[in-house]
Homo-oligomer: 252 residues x 2
């Protein structure tokens, strides 16, 4: 496994920096996590999928707030005009028809109550801490680092392309309608990550900034990985649900 | 298990609020966590104890910063004069002889290198997120809530009284000298938590404030519990060490 904490040496050209960022994703993106592997292998209980949808909602809900922080740090109206689109994608034109609403639909299609999802009261503390760490990262770091932390989207079309057909083929209670969230995400993620990668490659113009960009993407992979660690511990093989958290019907 | 999110009704007298706070600890303090249970039962590998010491260092290191935030929110010099003692306990008179230094001594006595502990580079992301959530909680909530979140110290003398003899009796590589950190903590924690509990009982003078102090203690129990969840998942029975984290000799 690569030690990414010291990979840029005296500096890289754009092509090599791009290669390092792709390597971070190759080694650390959560498509390698056992929770995801079991999901696409069809080995999960409905309870595990419910727990995933319920906890992941906390992440979805935070993304537009994270993007608003990035907007607030951006001084270029042209940058803001592009980045603003992300908030609209998640919130929808009217605040009720975007990605967050579609994620809620996924959760309720799996049998959860809208209020228990939206309140986030039953989510794992570790989920809330990881999401909060991501939002705070964007608030407390440079615009360049915040943009770099969004680059996990480079890898999201691939994980969606693996997840959606597997969910439909291997779980008879999962419907195409339930997965509507994923219809638009690959195109949105490809568009967004292309813009973000271009921005990062142009602005990471010193070795120090390049290392920071790499660290930011590693950090973001850690956030996503930690969320699946917590799910796997709580709802996976051992089933160690922390006090006060969502307890699926099966073990209520 | 009690739902502590709605326990104060129209308000409690001091005695009953105290009883609720003790009940939170009884149900949710991390002495009930399987990682702690296995530790005191003598069932842990040295690697698991190393991982515990290395990760818990992140928490120890953050405590005086958390207490400085509380100081910064306190307007009463008499309150600050008492609370300041906590920082001195952890940092020592000279910055090198307090609780943090003694925790580092515990970690190195277990065979870790001082630099790998102090850098926190090999700690679990979930540990760092939980500790950051605790520091941010104290920064973003009222003084009363921050003080209430420290009340896990009410329960710490008991867990130490269980942990220290068990470590000495059941692990031949653990020495009395290594555990010097724990010599002073029970008295310090008893003194500190008595002050904090008195403060909370006097200032939580509405039902709303009482519910907030209960929530604050639940939150803090969640922080400590989540830290052990992450350790158990990474180094316990399954051994799912996340990318880039501490890998004990046994599985390097």
């Amino acid at each position: 496994m690569t030690d990414f904490s010291d990979v840029v040496g005296s500096g890289l050209d754009a092509q090599n920096l791009r290669a390092v960022l792709l390597q971070v994703g190759h080694e650390r993106y959560h498509n390698r996590h056992p929770y995801h592997r079991r999901m696409v292998e069809g080995a999960m209980s409905k309870a595990e999928l419910q727990a995933w949808a319920l906890n992941r909602y906390c992440y979805q809900e935070a993304i537009p707030r994270k993007d608003a922080i990035i907007l607030s740090h951006a001084e270029d109206p042209a940058f803001r005009a592009v980045w603003r689109q992300r908030i609209e994608d998640h919130d929808g034109k009217d605040g009720r028809s975007g990605g967050i609403a579609r994620w809620l639909h996924l959760a309720t299609s799996l049998g959860l109550l809208p209020e228990e999802v939206k309140s986030q009261r039953l989510a794992l503390p570790a989920t809330r801490f990881a999401v909060e760490a991501y939002v705070n990262f964007c608030a407390s770091h440079t615009l360049l680092e915040a943009v770099a932390s969004s680059l996990t989207e480079l890898f999201s079309p691939d994980i969606i392309a693996e997840r959606v057909p597997a969910l439909l083929a291997r779980y008879d209670f999962v419907t195409t309608d339930a997965l509507a969230y994923f219809d638009r995400r690959p195109d949105q993620a490809a568009r967004d990550s292309e813009f973000a990668l271009d921005y990062v490659l142009r602005h990471a113009d010193t070795a120090e900034r390049q290392q920071k960009v790499v660290n930011s993407l590693v950090f973001k992979c850690d956030v996503l990985w930690a969320m699946l660690d917590a799910l796997d511990y709580a709802y996976g093989r051992e089933g160690m649900v922390p006090p006060g958290c969502f307890r699926p019907e099966a073990i209520r």
